[in-house]
Every structure is written in C-alpha cells, then in structure tokens.
Amino acid sequence: MNDNIDLSLLSGVLDEYAAVKGSLITILQHTQDIYGYLPKEAIELISERTGIATSEIMGVGTFYTQFRFEPVGKYLIMLCQGTACHVNGSELILQTIKDELGIDDGQTTEDGLFSLKCVACLGCCSLSPVMMVNEDTYGSLTPDKTKKILKELREAAV
C-alpha cells in the first residue's frame, strides 16, 4: 500500500519547517495530518530535508503516543482512560468495544473500518465514560449505548 505515497504533499510543510530548529514534532504532526500516519518514505524524506537521522526521527515518533506508523481505519475510536472514566466504568466500555469489533487496543478491524486506541484523559470528565470517534465526542457511555453507536457508524459507512 506504500506504493502510492505522494511525497509532494509534504513539500509545503518541509519548506516551512525544515530549516526551523526544534520543529521535528510539528513536522511529524503535519505529516500525520496528511497521510493519516507516518509512512516510512515520508520519514526518510524528512530526514533528508532536515538533516535529522532517521533513528532520531523514529525515536521521537515512537516516544509520543500521538504518532502512528500504520494506516488507521475509517473510524478512529479513542477511548478515554482518565480517572473519572475509570471510576465510572470505562473498563466495561473497552470490553464492549473489543467484543463488538474483535480487536485489541492499537488494532484495526479487518474491513479497515475501525481502529481502537486507548488514550490519555480527554478532559471531558463530567461526561465520563467518554470516547471520541474521529472528531466527535460521545459521553456517558454504557455498553448498550456503545454498541448502538458502533452499529450506526457501521451502517453509515456502507
């Protein structure tokens, strides 16, 4: 699938930041915005343009949880792991999502529809338990509500 990485999409970002010291994380964030993840080819290009070794770039990329190295599904489910969510039963929601989709944290369903990621506190503690799917936040989740949301998303995708 990496054959069709269009590296020209990166030129704007690199023109703006390649020479600005300390910009590696910013460049990687933009790169992920473009491709949905950090393709190897993009990292090599970033290395070439910034002069930062690929080992250092990968070191940074793998340090921060925001970065991904594989494409994600159409829906990226980010399940909040905050304290309030924990106290209000996020564990049960996680189990529900795992059971419904048959994937673990960090995995993508075979049909490429859903990716699941447990994330640090989303800061919507009063609505706990909370998950975000792409840009949308869903709060006060129960197992049934979660199943319903997943079902709706799946239907919307077809």
Partner: protein, 733 residues
C-alpha cells in the same frame, strides 16, 4: 579548590568537579552503569547515588557538583538500599544467562561451554587448560562421568544434548598423547598438606594445593592411586593406562604419592596432623551395602564393588554361568557387563522399578542389553536360597509402580502373592557403598554414619583436618561431585593455611527463565556419539568399548552448542555491580521487556533482551561518532535501542567502530571474536599503538592463550579510519 568530606575522609576537588569525579580521584569507588566520560551526563541508572548531609534527597554523584564543606556518604544504608533495589529491578528485566546451564549443573562448575566451544574451533590446547582449571583427571572423568552437564544442556530442547563428556575425553586424550599440559605452580609456601586417599577427591585436592604452592603428599592403602576410578570401574570403560597417565601428570606437577600405607595401621590422622600443616581425609566408601535379604551370607553372594575390585586386581571370583545383579545404578551396570565378559551365560539385572526409573546412564543400560544382559524389572529379591551354604536361587517378589515418593519416582509396591524363582550360581549386590567407619574413628560421624564435614569449609571436629568425598556427609556420590568438593576444599585449606577468611557466599548470577526460551528457529542436528566396539566383539574381552571421537566428529558435535552463557561474562560491569550487593531479583520477577534475539553482523551482535537502557550505545553513536546508527525506540518499559525501522546494523551508517560495544556495560552488544564458534573466554586486553594514515592510532587487542581474538578501534583515528577488522589485524603484524 573545594574542600569536602567523603566517607569521613577530607578531600579537595577542583572547582566544578562532580562528586563522582572527586570520589574516584581519591580512590573511593562509586558504581555507575550509564556514566562514561566520552558522553554527556545522563543520570539514568541511579547507581551513583550518594547521601549528602543536610540535603534530603539522594544525589546523583555523576551530575551533582562538589560544594564547599559538603559531607558525603557513598555507602550509607539508604544509599546501599537504593542501589540494591536498582540492581534488583535491572536484573529482573535483564534476560540473559551469565553462565551456561551445563556449567551450573556440573558439581565441579567445569566451564563446559568454554571447552566445547574451544574444541569446535580446534583450540585443543586451550580447551585442556580450561578443563584442568576444574578437573585434573579429564580423560578418566570424560569416560566415566554420568555428566549432569548434559542433563542441563538446552540442546535437548532442540533434539538431544551435546555430548559434553565425550568431548572432554577427546580433548584430554589429545593432551595425553603428546607433551602434556603441566600447570604453572606458584612459589613454594613451605606449608605441608597430607591427604589420605588417592581417589578423585584426594588427587584433585592435591593437584590444586600444589599449584597454590603447598607441598602435598597423598597416602593411599592400595598398591596404586586412583581409588574407585581404578578399583571400582572396569577396564572396558576406563582403561587403566589412561588413568595412569593422568596420575603421572599430577605427580610430575609436584605432588608426592605414597601407596600401600593404611590409615589406622601405618599412621593416624593425629600423627599426620603433627607432621603437616593440614590434613584432608578423602578415604572414600569402600564397603558394599547390604540389602538385608535372607541368604546374603551364602557362598556366591558378592558385594558389587568387592566383585569389581577383585576382577580388576586380576583374581575374579567364580561366578558360574547364571548370575544376577541387584540394583539399577552404574555399579550394577559395571557388574553385569563384567559378568558377561567373565563368561557368564545368563546375566540378570534385578531392579524393583522400571527402565525409566533406572539411575544408571541410558547408554550403559542399552549397551549392557546389547551384550546380552537380561533385565528383570519390577522385581525385588525376598530371599537368596542356598544348599549347603552355597547359593542356588533367588526368590523375587513381583512389584508394580504406585504413587510417586519423595524423590518424584513412582514407588514400587509388591503385587500380593506373586513371586518368581530363578536358579542362580551367584548374586552381586550393587545397591550402594559406604564408609568403613573403623578407619576414621578419630573423626565425628553424622547420623548417616559418614564423616561430618562443614559443607562450605570441609572442616571436621579436628582442627586443621578437612574431609571430602564419598566418606563425608551424605555419603557416596559420583566422581565429579568429589572433584568439585576437592577443588573448593583446596581453596578452603589454602585460606586456612594463610589465616584468611574465604567468602563462601554464592555470588549472584543472572539466569534465564527456561520456560520462556524459544528454540523454534534452531536447525535440528543429531547428537554424535563415538563409535563403539560391536557387542559380539566387546562382550568377550575388556577392551575399551568406546572408540572415542575423531577430530571431525568432535568439531561437529562441539559446533552444535547453543552458546547459552554470555560472552561478556568476564568483563560484565552489570554483573560486577550486581555481585557487590546482596540482591534477590526474583522478588520483582515479571515480564521481560524485550524478546531474546540473535541479530548480528560480521562484527557486532545485538541482543536487546540483555539491554539495561543505559543509553551509552545510542549516545556515543550520536555524540562521539555523529553516526546515529542507533536510536532509542518506543517509551517506558519496552524502550529499545535500535536502528530506525528495526533495520539490521549493516543497513545503517554504522562503520563498525565498535565504540558502542566497548561502552555497553553488559552483553547486549558484543564484539565477535576471531573464532568460527563464539566462546565466552577470559581474554586479556592490551592497548596497542599502530600507524594509520601516518598517524599514531590506538587499538585494543584481546588475546586468549596468546591467540588474538579481537582487535577493536580505541581512539578517534582508528574509529574513523573505516578499516575492517582484517585490515586492523594486519596492522599488528
């Protein structure tokens, strides 16, 4: 200059100096694992912590600067506790074997992996030297040892263990058939040691004490030295010519041997003690054990070792045509196979359990059967029946296996009312042997009737008198057990003679969890055994059954070794620090952060399972070399130093300068030695100056027994010269 106090000692340090620098400049050692002058201070390992008066937090001495009037303690209880836990945590996540399991399971701690590896490389002289660090009778032991090493050998999980014992015999035979290796002995101390008993225990203690510079005399009651090796093991298994040669080397090395003198008749322990500075009692266990079966006093009933001794001395008893041997150990095997060779027509082995439970070596069991021995498993003699005082038959109780007993073996229980009678001419009882107690009446015995000796120090109730081997504590065991005791006893006696204390604490070493080891990537290669005489040939004479390995066979067999023990064992900084503290990492046993790997190029082998994340490899590659071949990947517990995209080193800008390997405090990175098969060896490192591009450059050269094993760039010029190891080696010649 700044004035400060470290551990009560007033010292001065230059402005800007760290506490670590000040301490080391004054001979005060503070352990570190992530610190090196070559790179920036990092502060990860937490071992360099010290306590400063008036400062509530522990200070990392690698970064904390000296200040005027500072009062530092580098060894306070709090500091030691902090380091201890740091080491326990580190070792709980360090997946590696310092020492191979074969060596650990050898009662004498013989470096099996070392000599097997050297044999694989054809380095036979080095191999025999290494073996003789622990065993002075390797040709004999190689032939007779039941090899606990092979039981621990992990190759068994691939197919079968390495034939370690036969490899030892192979290397030792080469040595015996040429100008044999003689150990360097130390300057004479003038101390005298007498050893009673010239068996494996006595001879071994004598050999090592002599090397340590003491004058040693061995006294033995028999006409020749060797003890049970000579009088308890048949010729076809251990030709006495081999034993003679090995004893001759011991004698040549300086040990005095006196035969035909008997304790209690010609001398007493006390009398020897007055003439010597120390006495070691190694008299062995020379009395066959009784089965307490009715009829044992009949004519035709013999003790196992008595029978073997009589045959070896050239006057075998009349055993007739039908012979039964009671017992399932190696003595029983020796007895039955000897009986076959004496011409008995029907030879039975009576054993109350099954073949699977027999303590004898499997090969012996098979070979005996090939020679015509008939096994009577699950039988137990209930009476020896005679006529006119002479044995006529044995009545056997038929047994079956019940519940497992304390040893884990299933306990044989009689089958009610089922018996069998076999007509016999003679019976040989090979069920054990014990100390002849009257010989050692001067010494205190334990409840088993053996000499009571301290398990660490081998001391007895008499001052200056030590005891080892079959005669002591738990009684008779295998030769290598006695040899191991003798080696340790020699050190204890040496300490005693020098009025020193000896550290008997077993130093900590790292061991892998056997259950987690994956062998699926190993190619199967069958175990090799030396050719043997055909059964129909060998059962008629006492010629040695085994024909020994050919050189080709030996090398191939030795090459099967999985190399379990760590190559960095001898210079591992991590282990060195770990052994300084009384650690128990099992308290924190848990998941390992990395998979055990075998990633290697021509020079460097990486195994991140052993990595302790000191970061020195990544940092030196970045800060010193500006190559960035390695980076830290991931975060937290599973952080791993690795090239980008997990590429092999060869696909990075790595120029094999070896700096990362040099700085690695443990075995996560190792430099390959100039050997086909890699072996952990105690190499000697020296710095050598050579010319590279008209500039003087430094190389680090390692040698083992004179052979150059590694050439490592050792300064900026040599590291940046991009020369191969062969080119560097050429610079030396």
């Amino acid at each position: 200059m700044i004035n400060l106090t470290i551990n009560g000692k007033a010292i001065q340090a230059p402005e800007g100096a760290t506490i670590l620098e000040a301490a080391r400049a004054n001979g005060i050692d503070i352990p570190t694992l992530c610190y090196d002058k070559a790179v920036e201070i990092y502060g990860a390992c937490g071992l360099c912590v010290v306590e400063a008066e008036g400062i509530p937090k522990l200070l990392r001495s690698c970064s904390a600067k000296c200040t005027e009037g500072m009062v530092i303690n580098t060894e306070s209880d709090r500091v030691v506790q902090s380091r201890k836990i740091a080491m326990e945590l580190l070792m709980s996540a360090h997946d590696g074997d310092c020492v191979a399991p074969c060596q650990l399971n050898c009662p004498a701690r013989t470096d099996c992996q070392g000599y097997v590896g050297l044999i694989a490389n054809g380095e036979y002289d080095s191999a025999i030297k290494l073996i003789k660090n622990k065993i002075p009778l390797p040709a004999s032991i190689g032939r007779v040892c039941p090899h606990p090493c092979e039981k621990a050998c992990r190759r068994k999980n691939v197919e079968e263990p390495i034939n370690i014992a036969q490899l030892k015999a192979f290397a030792a035979d080469i040595d015996l058939n040429k100008d044999s290796y003689l150990p360097d002995v130390m300057v004479r101390t003038g101390k005298k040691v007498a050893i009673i008993g010239g068996g494996p225990a006595g001879l071994t203690a004598a050999y090592y004490l002599n090397i340590m510079g003491h004058s040693v005399t061995v006294y033995d009651m028999m006409e020749k030295m060797g003890g049970m090796l000579r009088y308890g093991i048949p010729q076809y298994r251990l030709p006495k010519e081999v034993l003679d040669k090995e004893i001759a080397i011991i004698e040549k090395s300086g040990v005095k041997l006196v035969n035909n003198v008997k304790l209690g008749k010609d001398f007493t322990i006390e009398s020897l003690k007055t003439e010597n500075d120390a006495v070691i009692v190694a008299v062995g266990a020379w009395q066959s054990s009784s089965m307490r079966t009715p009829g044992e006093d009949l004519e035709g009933v013999y003790g196992g070792i008595d029978f073997l001794r009589a045959v070896i001395k050239g006057n075998p008893p009349e055993i007739g045509e039908r012979v039964a041997i009671c017992g399932g150990g190696n003595t029983a095997m020796d007895a039955c196979r000897t009986a076959v060779r004496l011409g008995a027509k029907e030879v039975y082995v009576i054993y109350r359990r099954t073949r699977a439970e027999m303590p004898a070596d499997a090969l012996e069991i098979d070979e005996a059967e090939e020679e015509g021995v008939i096994y009577k498993f699950l039988t137990n003699p209930i009476s020896f029946n005679g006529e006119n005082g002479k044995l006529k038959s044995v009545t056997l109780q038929i047994m079956e296996l019940g519940e497992p007993d304390a040893s884990g073996r299933r306990r044989p229980v009689p089958v009610e009312g089922k018996t069998e009678e076999i007509p016999l001419d003679s019976v040989i009882l090979a069920i054990g042997q014990k100390l002849v107690q009257g010989d050692v009446s001067e010494l205190q015995l334990n409840e088993r009737g053996n000499i009571e000796a301290d398990p660490d120090w081998f001391t007895t109730n008499m001052d200056g008198v030590f005891a080892i081997g079959d005669a002591t504590n738990r009684g008779a065991s295998i030769a290598i057990e006695a040899i191991g005791e003798a080696d340790r006893c020699a050190k204890a006696v040496d300490a005693y003679l020098n009025n020193q204390k000896m550290d008997t604490r077993v130093p900590y070493i790292s061991k892998r969890d056997e259950a987690t080891i994956d062998y699926s990537d190993r190619k199967k290669e069958a175990r090799k055994t030396p050719r043997v005489l055909a059964p129909e040939v060998r059962n008629k004479n006492f010629d040695e059954v085994s024909l020994g390995f050919t050189e080709e066979e030996a090398k191939e067999e030795a090459s099967r070794c999985l190399e379990c023990g760590c190559r960095e064992y001898y210079k591992c900084k991590l282990l060195n620090v770990a052994q300084r503290y009384d650690i128990d990492p099992s308290r924190f046993q848990g998941e390992m952060p990395q998979q055990y790997t075998h990633d290697a190029n021509a020079f460097i082998e990486r195994n991140t399972a052993k990595c302790i994340l000191c970061g020195l490899c990544v940092r030196s590659c970045r800060e010193v070399m500006d190559i960035h071949a390695l980076g830290l990947m991931g975060r937290g517990f599973t952080t791993e130093p690795s090239p980008a995209f997990a590429l092999p080193l060869d696909q990075t800008k790595c120029n094999n300068c070896g700096l990362c390997v040099q700085l690695c405090p443990t075995g996560a990175l190792t430099e390959k030695a100039n050997l086909k098969k890699q072996v952990p060896l105690n190499e000697e490192y020296t710095e050598v100056k050579v010319e590279i591009d008209d500039q003087q450059a430094s190389l680090l050269v390692s040698r083992y027994n004179g052979k150059i094993l590694r050439v490592i760039p050792n300064d900026e010029i040599s590291r940046n010269a991009n020369l191969t190891r062969e080119q560097l080696l050429a610079k030396l010649q």
